[in-house]
Symmetry: C6
């Protein structure tokens, strides 16, 4: 069970300073931007944030802090 | 991984005494006002709070305490 | 960052024995009454509680304990 | 601030062995029965439980354990 | 207040190896099966699981782990 | 009560490196892929992830981290 020692949050830590996309729970909405900081609750601090609603580009939000419990997924932008 | 030491909550602490906008989860609603205090759960104490529904100015709410888990995002007002 | 030491919950503690209004998450509903006790999760014990639905006065509920995570905001009644 | 030492959960502890009504979050549903046990998360163990939907009496559920975070309010049956 | 020492979770522990029905929050859905394991968050490991939607028998799901916070109630099958 | 010592999360740890299906709460959506890592909150790190909406195959998502509280069930793919 040694493989389980690498926690999911380590994957997110490794994305600091790179582009990520955060899918919001229940809202057909994604926030894409640069990951500045993340904590153990998956609270996210992003900047250069752009909103996507149903995959259509929306507003530029700049700097935001997102509450972790309302995040569905976090993924790297490839 | 040194950059991840600056926690997302530090960004919010830095906004104490300035104008913030708090987006509520699932409610098309934002609360804008002056940040008085914040804790590790992102519970927020604001005053001079104004409600915005679908980006239209609503009621003046004065002093409110917002439960952190129902907050989607916190951002500075620029 | 000294100002952030005064936690949001302290604002609520200061309202014990006075009239408060508790807005419920996602339900267009508020509960107004006298705050008897509150804890670190913002669980609330109120009495003389009156329900308001879409700002119309509803039932008298008497004594209730409200689970903190389902509370959106707590505010003093002015 | 001495009054805040009496925690909201103490009110619920005091209701063990008596009739309570538990309002479920977002479901227009209440569960009424005898409180057997409660913990710090407001998880509830009830028996002789009866369901009420929009205040109409529904099924007899007997013994149930209710997850605390999905409870909106707990109140004594008067 | 001695009776409150028997925690709600103890009731669930006592159901290990027997048939339980787990009601899911907000989904008109129940999962019935044999309880293999439970933890302090009421996370549930079941096997021989059958889904019921609006009380109609649905798919056989076999082994599942259910996240505790999305559970409304847990009850023995009589 | 010795059987309750095997925690539900142990079942998920045992699935690391194998194919799992994660059912999302309230969204008629499942994510299927290889489990890379899991933690005590049931946060999940998966790769080779494919989305299923109402049981129809959707997008390939590659690597994702899923917030545990928004997961309804985790199950092995048989």
């Amino acid at each position: 069970m040694a493989t389980s020692i690498v926690l999911p949050i380590k994957k997110v830590f490794a994305l600091v300073d790179s582009q990520i996309v955060v899918e919001i729970k229940d809202e057909h909405r994604k926030l894409q931007g640069r990951l500045i900081a993340v904590d153990e609750y998956l609270n996210i601090h992003m900047d250069e944030t752009t909103e996507y609603i149903d995959n259509q580009r929306g507003r530029n939000l700049g700097t935001v802090v997102i509450r972790g419990n309302n995040i569905l997924t976090i993924a790297p932008v490839i």
